[in-house]
Amino acid sequence: MMKKLLVLLLLPAFVTHSALAQIKVFKEVSDGVSSQIKTIRQDNSLVGYLVFTRLEKANVDSFNYRITIMDENLNNIGKVEFKEIGLTLENVSFDQDVLCLGYLKSNFLDQEYRSKTKYRKAIPNAKNSVLMQFISLDGKIIKANSIPVNINLEKHFNQAFGSVYANANLKYPVLVKNISQRGFACFFGDDSGNNLLVFNAKGDLLWQKKVITKANDFYMLTSGENIYLLSKTNYNVGTVAAPGGYALLDNEGNYELLGYRYDGASAETHFDLKDDKGNKLKVIKFDNDMVTGKPYLAGCIIDPKKEGKYASGRELSKAPYMGIFTINISGNKPADLQKVFTYWSDGSTPGVSVRGRFAETDSYVMFTDAFRDFKGNTYFTGPEMIRRVRWGSIASSIITAPLIIPPIWILGFGGTSKCKTTDAMVVKQDAKGELSVENSIPAEHSSYHKAIAAIAYYNNQSFYTVFNSDTKTNYLVVDDGKNILIYNVNTKNVVRTIPHKDGNIKTYVFPAKEGHLMVSEYNRKENSTRYSIEAL
């Protein structure tokens, strides 16, 4: 009479059926299914999650897809199914109850060919484009725009296991951001150049333009009516010792900021990203202030004589950076930048030596993240690095001093000093540029490494921030490889310590809705994962 348990009894039988034919069918069908998970963001806040699943091949060049939409609490709220040629979901945004999805669409990139000849023969029929898809909250695809793209397929392919397939992609992947209450901005780069497009919430293309720059990396931000593109041009500046030999080093500066208006009314604006003396800036944060909603940049001021000499502990102790900066962007004109520079290289910052050593902790800091609080201060954070003498190395060199070559050999390869990362530093720069040490958060220390070794290879610390606009509280999440530390910036204390490994449970945290973290717990014994969204 009620829902019968018998139905439930029948269900496990389907799943646990041991006939080989059925297992084979299930396996082969499931091999054709693949999923991508993306966060859905609006105005930089996480509002939900989206699972994009390729279900099956529908015909010779198209597939059946399903989009499953979840709210910020991981509750399923709906799904949409459609057919299209090969798609890779790149980015998702949300505004005015419309989801905007940016894909790379291709009838070629997913295909396998039996030989190079067949591969090359198929190239003229290749159709590659960026697909911008707009879906309403009642599950309708209200618009889909395809923008043809140029991808060099001739040169970029791989050959393996008797198949030839393309190993090509967009020069720069699709970025999608909402323009609050107006629509969406989309950026991508192909072999013909970089493109910026603006759509309204109905999916109509409002305008499109080429972004003329030779940059390698791009970051897009929208704020009010404005769209900003931060680009970085890379070039080699040297090498650093790394496991197995040496690693190439790219420059840290050479950022350019471009500004556009949503309505395309004004020309592109170029913002000068240098300090008042023309020194380049290393940007470690480009984001919107959560109080004003306006963008800001934060980072380090590069010493021009030390460009390329930043990656190892030894180099960090020789002041590759002259100080830190915050640049507030209030509009779309070059004059709409308000710059705050704090220098220690000139000895003007108490408690910090000219080489950037913080007296309070007797350490140098490799700043890797920055964030704003609710009072307009900018915080900088990163692992502290200490440098110590390798007495063994010095003793060896003294003992062998009469022999000239061995000491050079010992000193050149080993060096006389060693470095390690220790605790996590938090410093505050106020609106006037005054710097203060907020805290040194106890974290897992790395082991000592040669001073010439790249810090990146032994630094385990990573950071991100969570804020709660109701309680006006900022949290810094520090992952030191062993534990996840939740630091309350307001009260200056660690409010939670979550071990990564606790018995059979492995825990990780990810960004979630405002004021929350997504906690993932993998139980090794049960081979299951549990997710929850927890408030800080």
Partner: protein, 485 residues
């Protein structure tokens, strides 16, 4: 003098009765949970439920045995995981209905079935063949009369009498080993495109047929149930089927007072902002995707309630006199149900049910004790970063406005306020009347929820202590969770 003596004796008896009552007021003992209580029945089922050899085709027989064994595993597994409980008064009340049906229908029910009281809050009952029938606490809670419960039981017994479960297993075994099924799988493998769609169609086709038969079985069971009831002189009203439509709306029913009023009684302030969803997320938007969770009509396993009502309306008893369910049964069922929701750590549902009982006017301090347990559970889960799962966030379209506000409150209360609630309840007046085992449970809760002294060793020690001194208490089930493994 003799009268005086009698009065003294009577007073002693009353006092001692109260004393005994004060020791524990939980409706059942730990040993009455199924893992202990039904251990013999579990072993008997395993031995007695041998799969008959009815197919000459080895593959079909093998499949039939797999399905048969999975049924056995289901019931024995459920017994093992404490899904059932034996509370004598409740058990006898339900069993008396079965006995009454059996007495009046000896041909159909020659042997009394094994009755299991399932602790689930879902208003449901089920029969799985093998002369076993289970009745959920949720059904007893939902029912308004003995006659409603009797209809549900008669319906389930009808499924057993008509061999529906066994026939379903046979049907499935035959289909899964049929040439037609194998051919359909081969067709899926041989197709280059739309393999998933084809595979789904294979199972949907089978499910469509099965569902159609299932619906006929439900109507057959309805018809036979009415006959069983009539012979037993138990009243029948087709209107009972219409009530079933509202069976799943427990959490859509509103509360009688604002949330604040319930917690004011404990002197616990509620901030308005806790109850308001302040999210920017999609949960607050007006989404309206086509509800694909609803089962298509062709795939429904049960006919719509209106259809069942119409088919049996003519058989309704005129001027039926309904027998109310005794208050003691209701009280026990409610407490057992709320405790089971709690032990499954579904804290919003648990707290909402408590508030609904308060709306009915209960002054039983047991519910205050459970409010304490809910907050202790929340504090503990918040520390463990499990608060979200313990609350059980339900989308707003499935719950009342009051449930939604309560859920928001439990989600958005700062950890400091949670601790404050917990500390406040720790010293509340109701503890004066609490029996020993409830006070002992408080020690475990304190260890779990307190911010200091919450090491594994402390938990083990608190748990061992409780089990040693309250081995028969219903609440031992909670202590067992934190025992050293």
């Amino acid at each position: 003098m003799a009268l005086f003596k009698r009065l003294v004796i009577i007073s002693c008896i009353i006092l001692s009765f109260n004393g005994v009552k004060a020791q524990t007021r939980s409706p059942y003992t730990y040993q009455q949970l199924s893992k202990s209580f039904y251990v013999k029945q579990k072993d008997s089922l395993k031995k007695a439920w041998l799969c008959p050899n009815i197919y000459s085709n080895k593959a079909t027989q093998k499949k039939y045995k797999e399905l048969w064994d999975s049924r056995t595993d289901f019931i024995t597994g459920a017994i093992e995981t404490q899904n059932y409980v034996y509370e004598p008064e409740l058990y006898n009340y339900i069993n008396d209905i079965i006995k009454q049906l059996a007495r009046a229908n000896p041909k159909e029910i020659p042997v009394l079935p094994l009755l299991l009281i399932d602790r689930s809050s879902s208003p449901n009952a089920y029969a799985i063949g093998g002369n076993v029938v289970a009745v959920n606490l949720g059904l007893i809670y939902f029912a308004k009369s003995r006659e409603e419960i009797a209809l549900a039981i008669a319906h389930e017994l009808s499924h057993n009498i008509l061999n529906h479960a066994d026939n379903a297993m046979k049907g499935q075994a035959e289909w899964l080993t049929s040439a037609e099924y194998k051919k359909s799988l081969d067709n899926v493998l041989n197709s280059k495109y739309e393999r998933l769609t084809r595979l789904k169609k294979v199972f949907e086709g089978y499910t469509f047929t099965r569902s159609k038969h299932q619906r006929y079985h439900e109507l057959d069971a309805d018809s036979l149930a009415v006959i069983l009831l009539k012979r037993s002189r138990i009243g029948f009203d087709a209107g009972f089927f219409m009530r079933l439509d509202s069976a799943d709306i427990q959490y859509k029913k509103p509360l009688k007072k604002p949330l604040n009023d319930y917690f004011a009684a404990y002197k616990l302030p509620v901030e308005a902002m806790w109850t308001q969803k302040r999210t920017k997320g999609l949960s607050s938007r007006n989404y309206n995707f086509k509800d694909t969770s609803a089962v298509e009509d062709s795939l429904k396993t049960h006919p719509d309630c209106i259809e069942r009502y119409k088919k049996t309306l003519a058989l309704s008893d005129k001027n039926i006199t309904l027998t109310p369910i005794p208050a003691s049964i209701r009280e026990k069922t409610t407490k057992m149900l709320i405790w089971n929701i709690y032990i499954n750590m579904d804290l919003t549902a648990c707290l909402y049910r408590i508030l609904q009982e308060k709306d009915k006017g209960t002054t039983d301090v047991w519910y205050d004790f459970m409010v304490y347990n809910v907050y202790a559970g929340l504090c503990y889960n918040d520390k463990e970063l499990h608060r979200f799962n313990a609350i059980g966030i339900t989308p707003k379209e499935y719950i009342s406005k009051d449930y939604y506000q309560l859920q928001n409150m439990l989600e958005q209360m700062p950890a400091t306020s949670l601790q404050q609630y917990f500390t406040g309840l720790q010293n509340a007046d109701f503890w004066k009347k609490a029996p020993d085992d409830e006070k002992a449970l408080k020690n475990i809760m304190y260890t779990l929820a307190s911010e200091t002294n919450d090491s594994d060793k402390s938990k083990w020690s608190a748990s061992d202590d409780f089990i040693k001194n309250n081995s028969t208490s219903m609440y031992r089930e909670f202590a067992e969770i934190f025992k050293k493994k």
